[in-house]
């Protein structure tokens, strides 16, 4: 039998002839077209109409600026999505994530994950009792009374920085006709959280210059191998720096003062120096790891939140006016910002046992990414999740909850996670962002976005969306007195 013509024909049915001819990109990196917000690229559909997900999308610019419709597909059709290209399972629904986050044993945080040794033996990579003990050691200094004690210091730092706006470099500040144009990131948001963290920890002021180096290098060194070394070096540098401070503080503790100069208590490093685990004092390495975590968590996240909050509010003038008129609304604005566009994407977990979720069997030891972004936009929990609305009645914005759920049926956003590993800095970052913004709002008269200086979306007119990108610069105008 001669099957030759049939054979060639059959092969071309099975393989895209362009691929066979060596055209097209054989790799796993792809440029996707940028779509209007809320619409997705066509990635194909299954015969039953289910949209398909091309795993290359997750590394595209399109996804970073316009992630929400893709997350929606995942929530609706793939609540546990297996990304074979990156060997990761994504969990995208609020309720599922909450359940996983709460099961500290079944979904562990043991470090085969992202930190790659850069942050050291950090608390969030421990589980169970070990985690609780260490976390409480420093977590207790970031909540309640001890946090309240620090608010005057936060206010003082904010006021100092705003007073200093007049002396800013011309590259981030221009005055013209009674209007000042200012880049709020470099003028305030970048440095303010770092100053607060230094202050609260009891770090010497001169360490602040190193903070950005430590922060950027350590964050950049997580995972990606070409920058890993710099991350490790930065951590070593931090450890050496801290080790000497710790040795010193063990003998000479330092204190926090209120506005009148009265001692309110020891700073966190001094307190950690006298903390014990299992009857033994913490080693300087353990303290470094705790501090590394505060450095890592305390800078970029709060900065992103402040910028995202101002950017979103100023794009909704009615809401902005309401906040200006009523200081108490800043809490709601803070929480809605974190729900709508939080700066932290998700948290990795590894399932200790084989688990089955929504019919997908996940073998033990798999990397399961809890996608906080998606949880906060789950329409099963939040109505019209893509709308920024500080007055929404389904978002809980009272005292932060570990459970995610409140008695009155409202849910909190996922930006801080929930459960035993909920962000220990949540309370202090709340204070930083809200206290700082209140003072800013009083001082910046008639603040508005300087549209000319801000990047635009694909239509060339509207402002670029935040998506899951971090807002780098925020140019604003405000009236000088």
């Amino acid at each position: 039998m001669s099957t030759q013509p049939d054979f060639a024909e059959a092969l071309s049915q099975a393989i895209d002839p362009a691929l066979l001819a060596g055209e097209g990109d054989p790799g796993a990196v792809k440029d996707f077209p940028l779509m209007p917000l809320g619409e997705t690229v066509d990635m194909g559909t299954a015969p039953d109409g289910t949209p398909l997900i091309d795993p290359r999308i997750f590394f595209s610019e399109e996804f970073r600026r316009n992630p929400w419709p893709y997350y929606r597909i995942m929530r609706d059709h793939y609540p546990v999505y297996f990304n074979k290209l990156n060997n990761t399972y994504y969990v995208t629904r609020y309720e599922d994530m909450t359940e996983c986050y709460y099961d500290d044993v079944g979904f562990n945080t043991i470090p085969k994950g992202s930190s790659n040794g850069v942050l050291g033996n950090v608390t969030h990579e421990l589980s169970g009792v070990e985690h609780r003990r260490r976390r409480n050691l420093f977590g207790q200094h970031l909540v309640g009374k001890s946090l309240e004690n620090r608010v005057p210091a936060i206010e003082r730092l904010a006021t100092e920085m705003i007073d200093d706006f007049d002396n800013l470099d011309d590259s981030i500040k221009q005055d013209k006709d009674g209007v000042r144009t200012l880049e709020l990131g470099r003028a305030f948001a970048y440095e303010f959280p770092v100053r607060v963290v230094c202050d609260v920890l009891g770090f010497p002021r001169e360490a602040q210059g190193n903070f950005f180096y430590w922060y950027d290098s350590m964050m950049g060194g997580l995972g990606a191998s070409e920058t890993h070394k710099q991350g490790m070096e930065a951590r070593q540098h931090l450890q050496d720096f801290v080790a000497d401070i710790v040795e010193d503080r063990r003998k000479n503790p330092t204190y926090l003062y209120d506005n009148d100069g009265n001692i309110m208590g020891k700073d966190i490093i001094s307190k950690l120096c006298e903390s014990k685990v299992d009857g033994d004092y913490l080693s300087s390495e353990e303290i470094t790891a705790l501090i590394a975590l505060v450095v890592a968590g305390g800078g970029e996240t709060t900065r992103g939140t402040i910028l995202n909050m101002w950017y979103s509010l100023m794009q909704h003038p009615d809401q902005f006016d309401a906040v200006i008129a009523d200081d108490n609304l800043w809490d709601q604005a803070f929480h809605e910002t974190l729900r709508h566009s939080n700066p932290i994407g998700g948290q990795p977990r590894h399932n200790t046992y084989d688990v089955e979720i929504h019919g997908i069997v996940v073998p033990a030891g798999s990397l399961m990414e809890m996608v906080n972004f998606s949880g906060s936009h789950d329409e099963r929990i939040f109505k019209d999740p893509e709308t920024f609305d500080i007055f929404r009645d389904d978002l809980y914005s009272g005292k932060l909850l570990r459970s995610g759920y409140n008695k009155d049926g409202k849910c909190s956003h996922m930006a801080f996670g929930v459960g035993p590993h909920m962000c220990p800095g949540a309370w202090i970052s709340h204070q930083e962002a809200v206290v700082g913004s209140k003072i800013l709002a009083k001082r910046l008269k008639n603040a508005r976005i300087n549209i000319d200086k801000m990047p635009k979306d694909i239509d060339g007119v509207s402002l670029a969306p935040i998506g899951i990108n971090k807002l780098r610069d925020l140019w604003i105008d405000y009236d000088l007195d």
């Binding site: 030759q4 049939d6 790659n116 950005f212 995972g223 070394k229």
Partner: protein, 449 residues
């Protein structure tokens, strides 16, 4: 706001020294710094400089076209490379790769069906003796006639693309005959089989297409299985139908899943790559034309030099310490045969294609991919080295032997029929994968004769 390293402040008892990289480092004189918990110790060993490679290179088009330079970087610098982007580890040295392939206790092989997320939709019956016997019988019986038919077609056409007209076609025709498919189903079978084979990996559209193809193959096989259960023949479907299985009689799904796991890649890829290498290395080609016994060696050297299946995935069954690392439970390990086969620790001038090279095992390996004290090319489609004798009396030859003999026989027939075979003038064939993770082979090999 610079990320540049600030000047180092010297505090307390720390003294700076200059490291090789020019970055100051501390010599600590404290006493409690020597103590390391196991975990910290592990982290420090993991703390290696992997600056010579970026993870995104492992999914780049350049890597897909030619993975060898990047695999060499891994093999010579990072023998157990942690790929953060792909959440996996890469093993690239010969002894390391083979130690994983022969260690089923620690490392798990997940089937293509698992990657399809279709566990339970059929049984892989490749290991059943009657199936292997039928496979051996069919391939031995048909390789001659099928190759001659292909050669006749080539001669009639007057020109040929050996990659598609010969290397791609031969395995499919042999497989169709081993299944004893009706002639009119052949073209459809080829299409469905190919779609099924290409669908289990990461590409979503192909996965859909593959699932649909499998569904259609089930229906194609179902009536055949039913008929042959009553009137068995010599073919593989009859052999599967006649199996006495613990979980009940074989189904059409079992036949298709067996085909899925069996695949065609080693035969197809090795034939295409061998002819590519011979035609582009005239000296080696003349060795083979002068002495037909060397075709066998050319085939073995091809599997070493340019293996069509570049790597296979294994998963750690439990936490296991290997290669200086603690591999976590569930960890994905890419075992790169393409890296191992060019390991200079095993093969002299590993990038050279040398028919009859002296440091390559020239028969089927036993044990850890070695025989006669020599390493064999790691060719993944052929499975672990056989524990049975090379010429067993009570069972068929190994898959390794059947595939090798088929490729060698077919190549010799081709060479005898077309003695003046040479590359079409001006042609510049290359090896490449159609897409990341797929067979690395020659897709276009125009020849004249």
């Amino acid at each position: 706001m610079s990320t540049k390293r600030p000047p180092v402040k010297i505090l307390g008892n720390a003294k700076p020294s200059k490291s090789r990289t020019g970055v100051p480092e501390y010599i600590r004189t404290g006493t409690n710094e020597d103590y390391r918990t196991y975990e910290v110790y592990q982290r420090e060993r993991v703390h290696e400089n992997t600056e010579k490679i970026r993870p995104v290179q492992l999914i780049s088009p350049a890597f897909v076209q030619n993975p060898y330079p990047i695999l060499e970087t891994l093999r010579e610098n990072y023998p157990c490379y942690r790929d953060w982007l792909g959440n996996s580890y890469w093993i690239t040295r010969y002894n390391d790769v083979t130690s994983i392939f022969t260690d089923e206790g620690n490392f798990e092989t997940r089937s293509k069906l698992w990657f399809y997320r279709m566990e339970g939709h059929g049984r892989d019956l490749r290991g059943e003796l009657p199936v292997l016997t039928a496979f051996e019988r069919a391939f031995d019986a048909h390789v001659g006639p099928v190759t001659e038919a292909i050669v006749a077609d080539l001669k009639a056409k007057g020109a040929a693309d050996l990659a598609l007209d010969f290397a791609a076609r031969l395995p499919m025709e042999l497989l169709a005959r081993a299944l004893d498919l009706p002639v009119e189903d052949f073209a459809r079978f080829v299409e469905l089989f190919w779609r099924m084979q290409r669908g289990y990996d990461w590409e979503a559209r192909d996965e859909q297409s593959g699932k649909l193809a499998m569904a259609e193959l089930f229906e194609m096989v179902r009536p055949l299985l039913k008929t042959r259960r009553n009137q068995p023949g010599e073919d593989m479907i009859s052999a599967i139908a006649g199996l006495d299985l613990p979980d009940g009689p074989a189904t059409a799904e079992d036949v298709v899943v067996t085909l899925l796991e069996m695949d065609h890649e080693t035969l197809h890829g090795a034939l295409a790559n061998m002819w590519f290498l011979l035609l582009t290395h005239p000296d080696e080609m003349s060795k083979v034309t002068n002495d037909r016994r060397l075709t066998n060696f050319a085939y073995l050297e091809t599997l070493r030099h340019s293996t069509p299946v570049l790597w296979k995935k294994r998963f750690a069954r439990h936490e296991v310490e290997r290669f200086g690392r603690l591999l976590p439970i569930g960890g994905l390990i890419y075992c790169a045969a393409a890296g191992a086969n060019r390991d200079p620790r095993q093969f002299k001038n590993p990038d050279q294609f040398i028919v009859g090279r002296k440091d390559l095992c020239q028969r089927e390996p036993r044990g850890h991919y070695r025989a006669d004290g020599l390493p064999a090319g790691v060719a993944l489609g052929l499975g672990s080295p056989s524990k049975h004798p090379a010429l067993p009396e009570d069972r068929p030859r190994s898959l390794y032997a059947i595939t090798r003999d088929t490729a060698v026989t077919a190549s010799n027939i081709l060479l005898n029929a077309l003695p003046d075979l040479r590359l079409k003038p001006g042609a510049e064939p290359t090896l490449r994968s159609l897409r990341l993770g797929e067979m690395h082979t020659c897709w276009n090999l125009p020849v004249v004769f």
